[in-house]
């Protein structure tokens, strides 16, 4: 046991020394937040810490990891009784990357499943403009995380056109905190830098329990001319299909990004899910769902963001409900080596 620990310590010292030599530094970044919600008369509160560890090694290697640590606080009987909390800790990714060149990066370990754009790009609490993930986020992602290896990079790149890809194989794992489904899949995207428009297509085949195919299409558009972002996804699986589409507009265009009004960002999202057949534990709504949402984000100095939103949920098999949410997030970054901030 001592030998193992000494090996780990030697490895980390080696990593740090290497990082020093390359004029870079291991960093700890991520987000901290506090979220509250009221849904159908029940209140929930969630203090969250989402640390991201980044350890560059030499010129081509990287170790990176992100965790999600949160306490879910709710009333004992839903809408009545004393408040009680339950802790959830999730290791979202822990991977080693080898950056061979601009066309190929090889990743191994636990990684965010590349399906659509939400799971990989938008799920971080300091990025997502709504507190809740889209209801179709479970389609094609194998519970969000995969244990295995992945190839990704730019197939083609020019000033006006980029073709990017990610392809992976994931193994079955029942190890606690490293659960993963056996499957394979990937995503391919066409990005036009001139208009900041991207269109992607995703596919996943689960290689267990008889197999299941999931397909998806995503789009992202952020025109240079205005601080507008439009993003959306459509996904289909044996469980059902659905979509979400979101638009946000930062009012910095009117009075400047540092003004009181310019820090405000209204955002709207519409999502629908259509259930095809009941599948146990698929993390999708039990029936059809329609959910329009309206939110406001306010970007304070020092990487702090306030947000609030209202959603109306229309279910096909239960009572419709209102969902009110509020939250505060703080994005942090600091070096894990003395003098790294210089």
């Amino acid at each position: 046991m001592k030998f193992r620990w000494s090996m780990v310590v030697m490895f980390l010292v080696g990593c740090s020394a290497s990082a020093q030599a390359q004029e870079t530094v291991p960093i700890l970044s991520g987000g901290a937040g506090f979220f509250g919600a009221s849904a159908a008369g029940a209140q929930y509160y969630q203090p969250v810490l989402a640390p991201v560890l980044t350890v560059p090694l030499g010129k081509k290697w990287l170790i990176e990891s992100r965790a999600d640590l949160r306490e879910f606080i709710s009333r004992e009987n839903g809408t009545s009784g004393p408040y009680q909390g339950e802790f959830f800790g999730t290791l979202e990714y822990l991977q080693v990357d080898y950056l061979a060149n601009s066309h190929v990066t090889i990743s191994a370990g636990r990684f965010l499943t590349p399906f659509g754009i939400f799971n990989e790009r938008l799920s971080a609490i300091w990025i997502d403009k709504f507190q809740d993930p889209p209801v179709i986020a479970a389609i094609g992602t194998g519970r969000g995380y995969s244990d295995g290896f992945m190839l990704r990079g730019l197939l083609l790149a020019s000033t006006g056109f980029q073709l990017n890809y990610a392809a992976y194989f994931s193994t079955l794992s029942t190890v606690e905190k490293f659960e993963s489904q056996r499957g394979t899949g990937g995503r391919i995207g066409i990005f036009l830098p001139g208009t900041r428009f991207e269109l992607g297509a995703s596919y996943r085949r689960t290689l267990e329990d008889g197999g299941e195919n999931s397909t998806g299409v995503d789009l992202s558009w952020a025109p240079h001319a205005a601080p507008v972002e439009i993003k959306g996804e459509w996904a289909h699986s044996d469980s059902g299909h659905g979509y979400w589409i979101q638009a946000s507009y930062r009012l910095s265009h009117l009075t400047g990004s540092d003004s009181g009004l310019g820090r405000l960002e209204p955002v709207v999202r519409m999502q629908q899910f259509f259930r095809s057949k009941p599948v146990p534990d698929d993390a999708l709504p039990a029936g059809n769902l329609q959910r329009p949402e309206f939110g406001l984000n306010y970007y304070l100095p020092h990487e702090i963001r306030l947000n609030g939103s209202y959603a109306r949920q229309y279910f096909s098999n239960t009572t419709d409900s209102n969902v009110w949410e509020f939250g505060i997030t703080y994005r942090f970054l600091f070096p894990l080596w003395p003098g790294g901030a210089k």
């Binding site: 203090p47 990287l62 408040y83 990989e120 830098p193 900041r196 505060i328 994005r331």
Partner: protein, 88 residues
């Protein structure tokens, strides 16, 4: 209820007393005139999902960009130019 108060207090303390919220780090100022292409690449690639960090040192920026090269599929040229913009 006491756990809720404790959790609230912990998050507020983290936000209010964080050294990053109170004291500016020793950072270098950006020079957009020298890094306009880097700024353009940042806005084109990174700015689609998040804003630029308010302050970041060159050594931190190298680590962040190594990670973003993997996550955002940046080219080696993008990485170099954005680094010049974030931490000239």
């Amino acid at each position: 209820m006491s756990r809720l108060r404790t959790a609230l207090a912990a998050v507020l303390c983290l936000l209010v007393f964080s050294p990053f919220a109170l004291s500016p780090k020793a950072q270098t100022k950006r020079a957009p005139s020298n890094a306009s292409e880097g700024e353009r690449r940042f806005r084109t690639n990174c700015g689609r999902c998040h804003q630029a960090p308010e302050a970041i040192s060159p050594r931190e920026a190298r680590a962040v960009l190594r990670q973003m090269r993997v996550r955002a599929m940046l080219s080696a040229e993008d990485e170099k130019l954005i680094l010049e913009y974030l931490a000239p």
